[in-house]
Symmetry: C2
Subunit: 438 residues, 2 copies
């Protein structure tokens, strides 16, 4: 594999426009389903408009069309109470919930009111009233995604959480998802996925209550639907394919670096990036990847091989300062620091979703039980977005409670500004009170 350096590395790690790419396979499937090569956006627009008008019936029709069956939408209280899974997995779910809860309980989440001689000013902080959590389906139950999205909302104090997730071919949701919901105290779980689920959360249907904000990752259709409903409902981010950038120096273990890159690579469409100050390490890691890749079972091996061959980038940096500069340019979802003194680099990290410091803190641990949510900004959006956190599930309300004495002090300046902006009635609303103070 080509080792990039200097401007070539900078160019390869620049991300100009994180537009959502449309694979040819999606267009071909749309042609098969709809008789036209509709773009995903056109399909999503049809779904949104239909669910808005026809509610549950539209949800079922679109699930029939895309997935081939009509599920019972709501998971019953009896089904939630009865779900059982392997005790070891159950214990792991409990540990993950506890660790993520402990983490977010430390996030500052308070408002303030400051009373002074001029009266009071402040910011109230309020939880959202109702939040929708989308849990992607696919080949395995994404238990951790439910935990890592719902817990920050629960810690924020959101009183009502609605979960939607696509059912399996037998019309059911994996019991591990149901158990996780039960452990979280969530009683509203719906068997529906895709853009139609986002539409249901945004507009409400007969069965599914309309929410204030939709959170959670999903496939291309889900992400487009989130973008299109934004403004009518809140969304926390537009998550795309996952990515990890590892910064390693000559002290790093090639075995660990390779294992971390492969853990990233086994996600479909993932982008592993390795930046090292050691040319020898780059060579050793590539050899390690080869060996570890062969030892992986299918289908993981094929997916990992595709990520490695199609999207992995290997960069030789002149020093750790340049390595950090390249990482900040790339703004990775995950940044792993495998260097002699990883904590010393933290001050230079300006853009990343999460930073994994040292060899005991591999990113795979963060996906499950370390503490912070694994729902992190992808595609360079760490420039302006954060991992899912308590703030995502709060609003701030500004408080203005100045007294008459303060108004007499600052009111005249406000009338000057109001008149400069042509807003005469604003000036008069202030003056109506000022005149009585004299």
């Amino acid at each position: 594999m080509q080792i990039l350096q200097g401007d070539a590395a900078r160019h390869a790690l620049s991300r100009n426009f994180s537009e959502i790419p449309v694979p040819e396979s999606v267009l071909a499937r749309n042609e098969q389903l709809y008789g036209e090569r509709l773009t995903p956006e056109q399909v999503v627009e049809r779904i949104l408009a239909d669910v808005k008008v026809r509610g549950d019936e539209a949800l079922l029709d679109w699930t029939q069309k895309v997935d081939g069956f009509r599920p019972t939408l709501k998971v019953s209280d009896e089904d939630i109470a009865a779900a059982e899974i392997d005790p070891e997995l159950h214990a792991a779910i409990r540990l993950a919930i506890r660790r993520v809860t402990d983490f977010y309980q430390k996030q500052p989440a308070h408002g303030w009111i400051d009373h002074g001689p001029g009266g009071a000013l402040g910011q109230l902080v309020r939880p959202l009233s109702r939040v929708g959590v989308y849990v992607p389906g696919g080949l395995a139950p994404l238990i951790s995604t439910l935990i890592h999205t719902a817990v920050p909302a629960l810690v924020a104090g959101v009183p009502e959480i609605i979960v939607t997730t696509p059912p399996n071919r037998d019309g059911q949701i994996h019991p591990a998802i149901v158990v996780a919901a039960r452990e979280l105290g969530i009683s509203q779980v719906f068997r529906v996925g895709g853009a139609q689920a986002i539409a249901a959360l945004a507009y409400g249907t007969e069965s599914i209550p309309r929410v204030d904000k939709v959170a959670g990752p999903g496939n291309l259709f889900v992400v487009i639907a989130k973008k299109l409903v934004f403004g009518q409902v809140g969304i926390e981010s537009l998550p795309g394919p996952t990515e990890t950038l590892v910064i390693a120096d000559d002290s790093a273990s090639p075995r660990y670096v390779a294992a971390d890159l492969l853990a990233q690579a086994e996600h479909l469409g993932a982008e592993p990036v390795l930046v090292s100050t050691s040319r020898q390490l780059l060579t050793q890691v590539q050899a390690e990847i080869g060996g570890q890749l062969e030892a992986l079972p299918e289908p993981n091996r094929s997916w990992a091989r595709d990520s490695i061959q199609s999207r992995m980038k290997i960069v030789l940096a002149s020093d750790l300062t340049e390595a950090l500069e390249l990482s900040n340019l790339y703004a990775p979802e995950h940044l792993c620091l495998l260097t002699r003194d990883p904590w010393s680099l933290l001050g230079g990290v300006r853009r990343a979703g999460g930073v994994f410091v040292g060899e005991a803190s591999m990113e795979a641990l963060g996906d499950y039980v370390a503490g912070p949510s694994h729902v992190m900004p992808t595609g360079g959006t760490a420039r302006f977005m954060s991992p899912v956190n308590v703030r995502d599930f709060q609003t701030i309300i500004s408080i203005v409670g100045v007294n008459a004495a303060e108004l007499a002090q600052i009111g005249p300046a406000a009338t000057v500004l109001a008149r400069a902006e042509g807003l005469e009635a604003h000036a008069r609303a202030i003056e109506s009170r000022l005149s009585e103070q004299d």
Copy 2:
């Protein structure tokens, strides 16, 4: 005017889908400009695509097409240094900057790192690197919008702020805007408005640097452009027409209530709402509005009359509890509390942009010098959005730095979850370290 009560009031204050309405006048003007009745979204898509490819040249061409002239894009350092305005206005600008800065310096904005026996976990809080502030043009210089958008970004620590604002017909920006930028320490001010300005901030051009986030209100085209570029760049909100809900009891002064509703009403397209527990007050306020409206100069009188006649809502609530319930349903941008004991209502406010407590704290004061930003969520988006604040200009970076002992404790559960999700390489990345701990 009809007085609404009970279910009729609830219905009138429910906001199902805050879609951006398209006035017929906009379609007619588009037909005149483009020879087709393009929707604003279609026009904006053309502008975005063109600016992405052609940069500055496209900015100038679209300004020529829409506004009829080609401005010099960048305001020179000499122009910024030389701008002069009336000293009283200059002093008012300084007061506003000081008050808004003082307010946001009180907002909690810190990260945390918690070191325990298991290692360290935490959240870094980082300012964005570069922010674009859009200042709408139109009939008057919106000096306060520049201050109320830029100051929270400056307090957050954003090192670089880019201002764009449409020039007047003579190709210039009002000196009060330039003076305000100078007082804020902002040296990059560009004479361009509309969707093309948002495109320039999102993609960058030869003259205008690409930013991480675009903030500030604007007309329909600006808001659509912000929605379309979201994901490639951050945006703080999708602001629509302004609105105020006043809760007043029988202790309120009809003169003040009318003045506050008129201050709201003089904005084009505004929606004033009055909820009172006193039928007598509702009658008195309507009489007051009539008198104060006649005394307003034009064009403010016509705009205010249109808001009053077309969109004002008057509601009789059975008690203050119901008044608050209706207000939370409506989720107003501005909530004014003109009651005997306004502070006692604050605990019941769940959804609002800003709350103006008592008769000395009129909303018009908040537009200029009270402290909190006047850029607040409109159209019911206070359900899930906040006024512009320091958080809008920060990202959070999650930190995972657990040690080997902690990994030995929690790692095995993570491998169980990873395998339940079908992610074998994740489990192996963890186990590669666990095995060495034994």
